[in-house]
């Protein structure tokens, strides 16, 4: 178990600046997730922490020890590769025992620990198979067992579920969570899937183009995104450019396309803003303290357990989501629709130049 600190980590590959100065603080025994679109620098961050790449600038600490330029083999931060990187010429047993043999443990101890690891990932009986004789999910478990068996200070997982099919993905997700809780180790998890990140993490750092946009618990990230990017990355949402017309503390009134809404802002002092409204927070029937805006029905989409109504407000499309059939029973294509929106659900954020 270890606490990890990154301070001002910068990494360039030739012309591309992969990391523009990363600051992170990962606590003891935490399952911490780096979330961001492909190419934003997640793997690079992970590789720097694992000691497989070295930063151009910045410092990396495990607890109070600086490890920025410590070689990978001495770091004890074990990475599970996205492609698993199992050695094809070794059996499952030999793959898992490898790190223990390197540490020159006695044979019996090695056997005991490999057995323990196999049980942990529920792969008893597969010792003598070769990696090519295993399914994707099994290969992934071997990779995790191989990492865990050496009792790493820190476990690094690079998109561990991205090569699995949807059903297995859910299963392995809870497996990883279970193992992490059981062993209480610090885990740094990388994914581009916001739903996966929400489900598994203690805390999340959202990354975009080599920078951290926001760090927080899944609930904070989802409900109080601090930037337009975070808001739009965390699932389907309405992001609407708007202008502040009235301001009183953190309460503001904004205007877009001749529609006015009340909202909340954290710190923004500009008048050009974006407003973010989650579809499920828009009500299709009157509620207390809500502002009502009326537009035209553009589209009604049935998703099974919920329904989305796309309303047209001037030129602007806004999505509302409901689980109640009755809410849409009276709606007709091109007919009128009224959205009811509470001030607390309208986030006013600085406009980002993306």
């Amino acid at each position: 178990m270890v606490e990890v600190k990154l301070e001002g980590i910068v990494k360039t590959f030739g012309e591309t600046v992969a990391l523009k100065g990363i600051d992170l603080h990962i606590k003891h025994g935490e399952l911490f997730t780096l979330l961001g679109p492909s190419g934003c620098g997640k793997s690079t961050t992970l590789r720097i922490i694992a000691g497989l790449d070295f930063p151009d600038e910045g410092h990396l600490y495990f607890d109070d020890e600086e490890v920025t330029y410590k070689s990978s083999s001495e770091r004890g931060a074990v990475l599970v590769f996205q492609n698993y990187a199992l050695w094809p010429h070794m059996t499952v047993y030999d793959n898992i025992a490898y790190g223990l043999k390197i540490r020159k443990l006695p044979k019996q101890e090695i056997e005991k620990r490999v057995k323990w690891a196999l049980e942990l990932v529920k792969l008893q009986g597969y010792e003598d198979r070769y990696p090519t004789q295993l399914s994707g999910g099994q290969q992934q478990r071997v990779a995790i067992a191989r990492a865990l068996v050496v009792e790493p200070k820190l476990l690094l997982l690079d998109e561990p579920l991205s090569n699995l099919d949807a059903k297995l993905r859910l299963e392995m997700r809870s497996e990883i969570r279970r193992i992490q809780r059981e062993l209480g180790i610090t885990v740094l998890y990388v994914t581009h899937d916001q739903e996966e990140a929400m489900a598994i993490s203690d805390r999340i750092a959202v990354m975009n183009i080599g920078q951290i946009e926001q760090v927080g618990t899944p609930k904070e990230i989802y409900e109080e995104p601090k930037t337009e990017f975070v808001a739009s990355f965390m699932g389907k949402t309405n992001v609407i450019p708007a202008e502040v017309v009235e301001r009183e503390g953190d309460k503001v009134t904004v205007e877009f396309e001749n529609f006015r809404l009340d909202g909340l802002t954290y710190k923004d002092k500009n008048d050009k803003v974006v407003i973010v409204i989650r579809p499920e927070r828009i009500s299709l029937h009157p509620i207390e303290n809500a502002v009502a805006i009326t537009g035209k029905v553009d589209l009604i989409e049935y998703y099974g357990f919920f329904i989305e109504v796309v309303g047209l407000f001037g030129e602007r499309r806004i999505i509302a989501r409901t689980i109640n059939d009755k809410d849409v029973a009276h709606l007709r294509p091109q007919g009128e629709v009224t959205f009811y929106i509470d001030r607390n659900d309208v986030l006013v954020l600085p406009k980002q130049s993306l």
């Binding site: 694992a50 000691g51 497989l52 070295f54 330029y69 410590k70 070689s71 990978s72 083999s73 001495e74 770091r75 004890g76 931060a77 074990v78 990475l79 590769f81 492609n83 990187a85 050695w87 094809p88 010429h89 490898y98 790190g99 390197i102 540490r103 191989r146 990492a147 050496v150």
Partner: protein
């Protein structure tokens, strides 16, 4: 540990790692010391006259009509009459002077092999026909190297009463007269017959690797037949064909076997390779600036061709559009005229080109071959003699030892250089990458002369390492070094290909789990590339055994320590023994080569990776 900007720039590792540095430095130094410096040391001699830097030697070569003869002299074909009164056309070629002769021969051989190789490759890649498997196997036969003896058989085939006249004049009556091919024409013929499969293999690989959807798209747009071939297929395959043809150009330029075999005709001697060779042999001990200048001219021609093709192929990487997956090749049934072409033109051509190797085998098992179509009188005396006569056996043992030692060095050099260039991005990587394949561009006779000047300059006079030593020069070290340099590209390519198939994360995972780089290389990397290394080692072993240029020059100074090829040359040039014993050694080499091919095929389950330039 501390980061080192210096290590990062040179070797691509921010932390200085001795093992990585070694992987760069060892092959780099080795090639600099044993290839570049010796060859450059000739520059010094070639550009010095009377103690001053001068172009004297080059001028005297280029002004001399012996070296440059324009317009050419002689008659390409002469009409003679045989003792029985039949007309005989003797084809010898024109004399352009030594330097231009070499160039003309190399260009003609390149063109002939390019046409023949491409036609065979296209037919093999795109058509299904009866006997295709025979074609596939037979096309490898001319690649079996039997120095001197196969050129000897070709000379016999195209002689006055040889096989060709027998079939086409006596039996089929297609030829109304007899022909005899000798001199430079003989050299062109012998080289073209031996080298066209090199173009074939490269061209075949190119045709196979063309994404069929590209041709389908063109067909879809209305292109078909020859138009499709000319506008889409051929341009896409051209880089591969050109790479093979360039290799042939260099091989032709440096070839000594054919000129030695045809040296009965003085015209065949008027080639750069032969001139360097004979001047060296007859003026031994003399460090002639003229030889050095001639070597430099030859080297320049080869290097220009080599750099040209590298640039060209580099610019046209689109040819190998393999996007990972294997596709279904476009194979069709030949049209009637194509069937005729296959059986009436290609099949006879194929049979003629595989005959030399068959002839070598027959020769090894026969008593004599004078004016008859085929060798006469079955005997196993020569095979016996090869095995039992200690004087002959010695050459075999010498060759085995030198080749074996060279292969050990080659494996070490291939692994270190490929590891460095495939895994790290230091500024030395591209340098190393180029220098490792550079030996392809340096003609063997140039290596031999470079070594001669180099070793006679740096080793103590009269020590066994000095080729001018009066007390007996021991060529062992020089030959091992020469083999290891000349055959390195074959193994290095194979190992490099193997390393590219191993994902770096396999090594990273090992180091990340606590293993050192050394343990990672030993435990993870080497087991995963062992088959490639083995294949490369076999290939370079086989071609070390049949190495000619250095073997018959430096290697023949002291016959007690000479390799097989030096002995074979002695037999052909001075009738020191019978040609049949040389053929027996040729058979031995064939056996070694076939064994290697089969073993590599069985063990690595890969197609026998052959000669290529890129």
């Amino acid at each position: 540990m501390k980061v080192s900007k210096w290590s990062e720039r040179l070797f691509g590792t921010p932390l200085f790692e001795p093992l990585v540095a070694f992987s760069y430095i060892f092959p780099l130094l080795y090639l600099i010391v044993f290839l570049i410096v010796p060859v450059l040391s000739m520059l010094l001699i070639a550009f010095t006259y009377d103690g001053n830097i001068s172009l004297h030697w080059f001028k005297s070569i280029l002004m001399d009509s012996y070296y440059i003869q324009l317009p050419p002299q002689g008659e390409f074909a002469q009409k003679l009459t045989t003792s029985t009164g039949e007309s005989l056309y003797l084809l010898r070629g024109l004399d352009f002077g030594v330097v231009l002769n070499s160039l003309v021969v190399a260009i003609l051989v390149t063109l002939l092999t390019a046409i023949l190789g491409t036609v065979f490759a296209f037919v093999m890649a795109r058509y299904n026909f009866k006997g295709k498997n025979f074609f596939r196997i037979a096309l490898f036969i001319p690649l079996l190297v039997t120095p001197f003896v196969n050129a000897y058989v070709i000379k016999q085939m195209f002689s006055e009463y040889g096989l060709i006249n027998y079939i086409f004049h006596e039996v089929l009556h297609i030829l109304p007269f007899r022909i005899k091919i000798d001199g430079l024409a003989g050299v062109v013929l012998a080289q073209a017959m031996a080298y066209y499969p090199i173009v074939y293999l490269n061209a075949y690989a190119s045709f196979i690797n063309i994404d069929p959807t590209l041709e389908e798209q063109a067909e879809n747009l209305g292109s078909r037949g020859f138009h499709l071939f000319r506008t889409v297929t051929f341009p896409l395959a051209l880089p591969g064909i050109a790479a093979g043809a360039t290799l042939v150009f260099i091989f032709s330029l440096e070839d000594l076997a054919a000129p030695v075999v045809f040296h009965g005709d003085p015209l065949a001697k008027k080639l750069m390779s032969y001139q360097i060779f004979s001047k060296f042999i007859y003026g031994l001990g003399e460090r002639s600036p003229e030889i050095a200048a001639l070597s430099i001219i030859m080297l320049a021609l080869a290097v220009i061709a080599f750099l040209g093709i590298r640039k060209y192929v580099g610019l046209r990487q689109y040819a190998m559009l393999s996007k990972g997956g294997r596709w279904k090749p476009r194979i069709s049934e030949p049209k009637p005229w194509q069937t005729l072409l296959i059986y009436l033109v290609l099949l006879p051509a194929l049979l003629i080109t595989i005959f030399p190797q068959l002839g070598v085998v027959m020769l090894a098992f026969s008593e004599r071959w004078t004016t008859t179509v085929l060798p006469q009188g079955f005997t196993i005396d020569y095979i016996k003699e090869m095995i039992l006569n200690p004087d002959v056996r010695r050459f075999i043992v010498n060759s085995l030892v030198y080749s074996g030692a060279a292969v050990i060095l080659i494996v070490l050099l291939s692994i270190t250089s490929s590891y460095a260039t495939s895994r790290f991005k230091g500024i030395l990587s591209p340098v190393l990458e180029s220098i490792v394949i550079l030996p392809i561009a340096v003609p063997g006779i140039v290596v031999a002369m470079g070594y001669f000047y180099f070793f006679s300059a740096i080793t103590p006079e009269n020590s066994p390492l000095n080729p001018t030593s009066l007390y007996g020069f021991n060529p062992a070290l020089v030959l091992i070094l020469a083999y290891s340099i000349r055959r390195l590209p074959f193994a290095a390519r194979s190992v490099y290909a193997g390393l590219q198939q191993v994902h770096v994360s396999l090594e990273e995972a090992s180091m990340n789990l606590g293993a050192s780089r050394w343990k990672t290389i030993i435990g993870i990397l080497l087991p995963l590339i062992s088959l490639n290394a083995f294949g490369g080692a076999m290939l370079s072993f086989v071609y070390s055994m049949s190495e000619t240029s250095v073997g018959i020059t430096l290697g023949s100074i002291n016959m007690a320590q000479a390799p097989i090829t030096a002995f074979m040359k002695e037999v052909l040039m001075s009738a020191a023994g019978s040609i049949n014993i040389a053929a027996a050694l040729g058979v031995l080499l064939i056996v070694v080569q076939i064994t290697a091919i089969v073993v590599v095929n069985v063990i690595t389950k890969q197609r026998y990776s052959f000669i290529g330039l890129t």
